[in-house]
C-alpha cells in the first residue's frame, strides 16, 4: 500500500481537478465539491503520515519502478509527511472559507480546478526527492497560484499579479540555471545521489555557484530579505481564501526547499551558509516587521508579517543544529496554521466591516464578538503570547540560538516579537475596539466563514497544550533531515557502480 499512499497526495488532486473542471458550470456543486475533495486529500495525507510515523526510516517510492537514481523518487521522511498534512489542513480550511466567499462567476472560471492543482504542486514539491522534479512541481504550484491570483476581485489584482509573476519567473530562471549546472557537475538529479557526490567532491567553483543560484531561487520563493518584493503587492489584492492559502503555504514551500537542499545536499557548506542564513534571517525579520508596522491595511500588515516570520525560520536553518531544525519545523507548522487563520480573519473582517483599511474599520468587538475571539487567538499566537503555539515556537528557537551563543540574534528576535505584538494590537485596537467610523455600522456576515477559523484556532490552542508531542515529532523529523545530509552524518555507503 505504501506506493499508493505516497503517490496519492499528488495523484488525487490531479484527478479531482479534472472532476472540478467538469463540474465548474454548476457553482452550487463546485462549492461543495472543493471542500469535500480537500477533505479526501487531507485523509490521504493523514494516511501517509501514519505510515511514515510508524516507520523509523524515510520511505521511498521509485516512480515507474525505475530504481533510484534512474527515475524519479519520492522519498518521504517525517518532515515531508508533516508538511503534506499541514498543507491538507490549510487546503481544507481555505476551501471551507471559499465556500462562502467565491462567487458563481469565479467558480465557472475554474477556481476549484486551480485550487486542486495548487495542492498537487505543493504536495509534489514536499514529497519529491529529485531536483528537476522539484522544479516541475514548483512550476505547477506557481502556475496555479498565478491563475488563482488573477481570479481575485481586488482593484489592483493584475498589477500585483504582474509583479508576482515576473519575479517568480526570474526565480525559476535561477533555479533552472543552478539545477543545470549541478546536473552537469554530478550527472545526477536525485537529491541523495547529488548529496553523496557533493560530499565527496568538496567545494569547487561549480558547486558553489550552483548553490548560489539555488539559494537565490529558493530565497525569492521563500520571501527572504532582500528578495521578498513580490509578496507584499500580491497577497493583499486577491481573494481572501486564496490569500489565506498562499499566505500559509507558498513561501513555506520555498523555505522547505531551502531546508531540503541546504540542510541536506549542500549541508557540507554549513560553515559558509549557516552564518549567511543567520544574517539573512535577522534582516528578513527586521525588514518584515518594519514593513508591517508601517502599514494600515489588514492584509498588508499580515503580508509583511509573513516575511518577518520567515526570518525566524531561516534563523533556525542558519543555526544548523538538530535542535534548531526541530525548532524551525515546529515553527513552520505553527506559522502556517496561524498565518492562514489570520488571513481568513482578515477576510471575515473585510466582509463584516466592508473595508481592509484600518481607518475605515471599527466596532467589530461589539458587532461580531465571536470573530473577535477567533481573531485574538491567532493574533496573540503570532505575537508569541503563551500558552499559544507561537510562544513555544519562539521559545524553542531562541533556546537553540542561546545554546549556539547567537546572542545578537536572540535580541533581534525578541524585539521583533514585541513589534509583532504591536502590529496585532494595532488591528485589534482599530478594527475591534474603535467605534465604527461609518454610520451604517457593520454588516452581517456568513457564520460559515468562522468554521475554518475555529478549526485552525483550536489547532493553535492544541499545539500550545500538547507542545511536547509535536516537538518530539519535529525532533524526529529534524533527525531524519540531518541523516539525509552525508556531510553531517558520515555516510558509509559508497556511490553505486554505474
Amino acid at each position: 500500500m505504501e506506493p499508493i499512499a505516497i503517490a496519492l497526495p499528488v495523484v488525487l488532486p490531479l484527478l479531482l481537478s479534472l472532476v472540478a473542471w467538469l463540474l465548474r458550470d454548476r457553482p452550487a456543486v463546485s462549492r461543495v465539491f472543493l471542500p469535500a475533495g480537500l477533505a479526501a486529500l487531507l485523509g490521504s495525507a493523514l494516511w501517509l503520515f501514519s505510515i511514515i510515523h510508524a516507520s523509523d526510516v524515510p520511505i521511498r517510492v521509485d516512480f515507474g519502478s525505475w530504481e533510484k537514481p534512474l527515475g524519479i523518487s519520492f522519498q518521504v521522511d517525517l518532515f515531508a509527511a508533516i508538511m503534506v498534512v499541514v498543507a491538507g489542513i490549510i487546503g481544507f480550511a481555505g476551501a471551507l472559507f471559499a465556500m462562502g466567499e467565491i462567487g458563481r462567476v469565479i467558480w465557472r472560471k475554474g477556481y476549484g480546478t486551480f485550487f486542486f492543482l495548487l495542492l498537487a504542486g505543493i504536495n509534489g514539491a514536499f514529497l519529491t526527492n529529485d531536483l528537476f522534479n522539484l522544479f516541475v512541481w514548483f512550476e505547477v504550484m506557481l502556475m496555479s497560484s498565478f491563475a488563482m491570483l488573477v481570479l481575485g476581485r481586488g482593484k489592483y489584482v493584475f498589477e500585483g499579479a504582474t509583479k508576482y509573476v515576473v519575479i517568480n519567473m526570474v526565480s525559476s530562471f535561477f533555479f533552472l540555471s543552478g539545477l543545470g549546472v549541478i546536473y552537469g557537475k554530478t550527472g545526477q538529479l536525485n537529491l541523495d545521489e547529488v548529496a553523496m557526490r557533493l560530499a565527496s567532491s568538496g567545494s569547487d567553483p561549480v558547486i558553489l555557484s550552483s548553490a548560489a543560484l539555488l539559494l537565490i531561487a529558493f530565497g525569492i520563493k521563500a520571501g527572504v530579505f532582500p528578495l521578498y518584493f513580490w509578496l507584499p503587492p500580491a497577497y493583499p489584492n486577491t481573494g481572501f481564501a486564496t490569500a489565506a492559502v498562499f499566505g500559509g503555504l507558498l513561501t513555506k514551500v520555498g523555505v522547505y526547499a531551502l531546508f531540503r537542499v541546504f540542510g541536506g545536499a549542500f549541508g557540507f557548506l554549513s560553515e559558509i551558509i549557516g552564518p549567511l542564513f543567520l544574517v539573512v534571517g535577522a534582516a528578513t525579520m527586521v525588514a518584515g516587521v518594519l514593513g508591517a508596522a508601517s502599514q494600515f491595511h489588514t492584509r498588508r500588515i499580515l503580508s509583511f508579517h509573513i516575511v518577518s516570520q520567515i526570518g525566524y525560520i531561516v534563523l533556525g536553518l542558519g543555526l544548523f543544529t538538530q535542535g534548531a531544525f526541530a525548532a524551525a519545523i515546529f515553527y513552520i507548522v505553527h506559522h502556517i496554521l496561524v498565518k492562514t487563520n489570520l488571513f481568513l480573519a482578515a477576510g471575515a473582517i473585510a466582509s463584516t466591516g466592508r473595508s481592509e483599511r484600518l481607518e475605515k474599520l471599527g466596532g467589530l468587538l461589539k458587532g461580531a464578538p465571536l470573530l473577535a475571539v477567533l481573531f485574538l487567538i491567532p493574533a496573540l499566537s503570532l505575537g508569541g503570547i503563551p500558552p499559544l503555539s507561537g510562544f513555544f515556537a519562539k521559545f524553542l528557537l531562541l533556546r537553540e540560538a542561546l545554546r549556539e551563543e547567537a546572542y545578537v540574534y536572540v535580541v533581534i528576535a525578541l524585539l521583533v516579537g514585541v513589534v509583532t505584538l504591536f502590529s496585532m494590537t494595532k488591528i485589534w485596537g482599530e478594527a475591534f475596539w474603535k467605534e465604527s467610523p461609518r454610520p451604517g455600522g457593520i454588516e452581517k456576515f456568513r457564520k460559515v466563514q468562522l468554521v475554518p477559523m475555529a478549526m485552525l484556532g483550536s489547532l493553535t490552542i492544541l499545539i500550545g497544550i500538547f507542545v511536547d508531542p509535536l516537538f518530539r515529532l519535529s525532533e524526529r523529523a529534524a533527525d531524519q533531515l540531518i541523516q539525509s545530509n552525508p556531510a553531517l552524518v558520515q555516510s558509509v555507503s559508497p556511490p553505486p557502480e554505474s
Binding site: 493584475f158 504582474t162 509573476v165 546536473y183 503587492p233 489584492n237
Partner: protein, 115 residues
C-alpha cells in the same frame, strides 16, 4: 567552441536582463523569454556537448554509440521549454489584462498597487 557558446549564453542573459529592466511591460516579457532561452541553453550545454550524434538508437543497433549526447539533459530542456512556453503565454495575456486596466503598458503603473 565552448567559449563562443559561453559568451552567447552570457549575452542572452544580459540582453534578457536589460529588457527586464525597462519601463515597458511588453519588453519585460521579451526579457523573460530571452532569459528562459539562456537557461535552456545553459542546461543543455552544462551536461556536456557531444559531437553531434543524436540520442536515438540506430535501427540496427542495441545501444547508443560511444560519445553520444546526454539524453537526460535533452529531456530536461524539452520539459523546460514547454513549461516556459506555458508560463509565457499566460504572462502575455496577463500583460494584456494589466494593460487594459492601466491604459499604458508601463511599469510605473504597477506602483499604485503598493501606495
Amino acid at each position: 567552441m565552448e567559449l563562443i557558446i559561453a559568451i552567447m549564453i552570457g549575452c542572452l542573459a544580459a540582453c534578457g536582463t536589460r529588457m527586464l529592466l525597462q519601463r515597458s511591460l511588453f519588453r519585460v516579457l521579451i526579457g523573460l523569454a530571452l532569459l528562459a532561452q539562456a537557461a535552456n541553453v545553459l542546461v543543455f550545454t552544462a551536461a556536456g556537448l557531444g559531437r553531434g550524434d543524436t540520442a536515438v538508437i540506430a535501427k540496427t543497433a542495441k545501444e547508443l554509440p560511444e560519445g553520444h549526447p546526454d539524453p537526460l539533459a535533452q529531456a530536461l530542456v524539452l520539459t523546460a521549454i514547454v513549461i516556459s512556453f506555458g508560463v509565457l503565454a499566460f504572462c502575455l495575456v496577463l500583460l494584456k489584462r494589466t494593460h487594459r486596466r492601466t491604459a499604458d503598458a508601463d511599469v510605473d503603473a504597477l506602483a499604485r498597487v503598493e501606495s
